[in-house]
Symmetry: C2
Subunit: 428 residues, 2 copies
């Protein structure tokens, strides 16, 4: 469950304002669900929670096979072919997953950039490991993953010879593109990225689920969470729909000139989830000279960095706080008569102190004129990851239609590619 | 050296505009160097490059002692007591330093947040290691590091008994505060945070240098780089001063309504340097309802995420690209007749492709209406880290005075602390 808390927002937005935007939210809801809006051929993600059920068994089995074959899983992909899996892995298992992985492979992401160090370091790390590859790319033609795959394919073939084939898994388009062609030619085990699901909406497809299954995550629970979210937010009435309440609030704030939204979280294991969120909203809404700029902060860390700006800088921003109510682990501040000035915290749990810091910060930032939306997530587990993924995808679709843009294209991403291919001499 | 490149900026800012702001920059320069402005009792960082020379030998020796004593160094600190050391370590040694550290200890940062997992994971990681602590806090009273230090002090005393004393190092105020009192009482080896140097300007003091020395970094080269930067930017004339050209350009753009500055970099090992930069500028300028909001992106990764927004979203932003001209490592795209569509890149070095992506992106974003400032740094090494730290600190001081704010206070940071201490029942 995700609960929308109004207590640090109500001094900025009245219920009348929420009611006034209801017709626009209803229109956006209908446009999305009736598939009548721009980009409607990329709304397959709406049905993924139900649609994935038939595939879950096979994904789980292949995930287990990967876990049995290797101690090191390299996932090659960029953007939506990378962020969802990484965000989910850290959300569910924690950001230090690799340090504590036992019985399941460590997971390393590459093909995410063009920096030589990224590749060189990972090659060095893998020399003495037992490795599998999972390559995620709709077309196979995106430069970063294609370069990484060429290098690691060679690495695998040198290391394993013909047996490399059973250690390489691909997730790509059903029919088209160079990665599908390579898959067929070499006989790799493969999964399909549905044609009507865009990259940033693909975490609930094999794109997210196969790497997670290999890491031992309960992918049925993920899909269960997504199904629950779909059911919970089926009603377009904002009164009954915390997801649409979020979409409505951010549109109201944006129209007032609050053009930057900061996702704040108090658990570093949510950092990659915030990165996933930044792609989801930034790429969906940032077009035609419009859109809310998505930023993120890890509190309390960044209270000692960007906190000053948020409290007292230019007033063109609002915060969305992703707060996890149940701790993943906990520890108490030990008793000590050491004169360190901390005795008022002795015996208190760190999770309690952290949660108190969250409430105090919301109160302070509201006092500084920054609206705070609090989204409470029950727990950092597979179920809530699925729930949260669907929550934000749905909020994004409705929010972008309310803003008046196509949520499902990304025309601006082509510009630098055109210039790059020209400078690199790519044949037409 | 850092070179300010004008080629993706000149279509936005004329030389006449630069000349017009010269009097303000000159005034800011004089205010800073004559120490006549608000916050002038925190301008000690101006002289650190020269002032640190006398201490370098002792810092290097103690760093070596730490490296000899332990395989795992835990650095406890938050904000300016943390970001500088971490940014510098990753800048100089790469973000995967811990995976490849040989002969020098791995370095872990804690006391940076209040999430229980951070502490619990690190305790688990340290059980079988040989550990030293380096505790950085001016007062000792900041909650995050104070809590972490209480927990890890207990851990060390249980593990090492009386010998814990020689494994704990503190960096704190010369005379005041609970950490100085604990240091005296227990007999820890200690260094002084100069009273006239604020946290975000402290990386060139023992705060940054001791952890770096323990990790085997050449701290004399860092200070050498800072000294060179100080000499290079002594002249207030923008024509001869790339540092002030940067300060001038960002003020000109801000006055035009470009209120978000995105630091972009193409090497993931600069991510923490960008975090350091965000604190430096955000905390120095974000006050009184003013200031440029500092954000960062790791390209090409985030071209597949925030790239769409930057290319085509709301036009209230500009980019500052930190580009490293010499690669740290390199690797060529291997030849292969594999039909992956990449043959036009066969044999090309990844650094070349990455640099081409940078130029192409700047060209594309300029086409989308986003001014691009390119700052070229020669190399990711100790000398250039020192140079870059001084460059940005100086740019920040001059820029903030030009903006009309005190660069050296952070009044807004107290607000959430007040609320938190009230909610936690801290005695007055």
């Amino acid at each position: 469950m995700i609960k929308f808390r109004n207590d640090y927002l109500k001094s900025f937005i009245t219920e009348a304002e929420i009611a006034a935007i209801q017709p626009e939210i209803t229109t956006a809801h209908n446009t999305l669900h009736n598939r009548t809006g721009p980009g409607n051929d990329f709304t397959g993600w709406l049905d993924l929670p139900k649609g994935m059920e038939a595939q879950l068994e096979r994904i789980a089995q292949v995930g287990q096979r990967i876990a049995g074959l290797c101690d090191t899983l390299i996932v090659i992909g960029v953007g939506g072919s990378y962020l969802g899996a990484r965000a989910a892995l850290e959300f569910i298992r924690g950001k230090n997953y690799n340090a504590f992985a036992e019985g399941t492979p460590t997971v390393h992401f590459v093909g995410t950039d063009l920096c030589p160090d990224t590749i060189v370091d990972l090659l060095n790390l893998c020399r003495d490991k037992s490795v599998c590859l999972c390559v995620v790319s709709k077309s196979g033609g995106t430069t970063e993953p294609a370069v990484a795959f060429r290098i690691f394919r060679q690495f695998m073939e040198e290391k394993y010879g013909a047996a490399a084939t059973e250690r390489i898994y691909t997730i790509t388009d059903e029919k088209n593109g160079s990665l599908r062609a390579l898959t067929t030619q070499r006989g790799y085990t493969s999964f399909v990225i549905p044609g009507d699901v865009g990259g940033r909406f693909s975490v609930l497809s094999p794109v997210g689920l196969l790497p997670l299954a290999a890491a031992g995550v309960d992918i049925k629970a993920i899909i269960g969470g997504a199904q629950a979210a779909k059911a919970d937010f089926a009603d377009a009435s904002i009164q009954n729909n915390d997801c649409y309440r979020y979409a409505a609030a951010r549109n109201i704030l944006y129209r007032r000139g609050l053009t930057t939204e900061i996702m704040a979280f108090y658990d570093p294991s949510l950092a990659m989830f915030a990165e996933w969120w930044k792609q989801l909203f930034g790429e969906s809404e940032g077009k035609g000279g419009q859109g809310i700029f998505p930023a993120s902060v890890c509190f309390t860390t960044d209270l000692h960095s960007l906190g000053q700006y948020v409290q007292d800088g230019k007033r063109n921003l609002f915060e969305t706080v992703l707060s996890v109510t149940q701790p993943f682990t906990d520890i108490a501040v030990p008793h000590e008569g050491g004169g360190d000035g901390l005795d008022f915290l002795s015996g208190k749990s760190l999770h309690h102190i952290n949660t108190t810091a969250m409430e105090a910060t919301a109160e302070a930032h509201v006092g500084g004129g920054v609206p705070n939306i609090i989204l409470e997530v029950g727990k950092r587990d597979a179920y809530h990851l699925g729930y949260a993924a669907y929550f934000f995808q749905l909020a994004c679709g409705v929010s972008a239609y309310t803003l008046g843009v196509n949520p499902f294209d990304q025309p601006g991403v082509e510009e630098y590619k055109k210039a790059m291919f020209r400078l690199l001499g790519k044949p037409e």
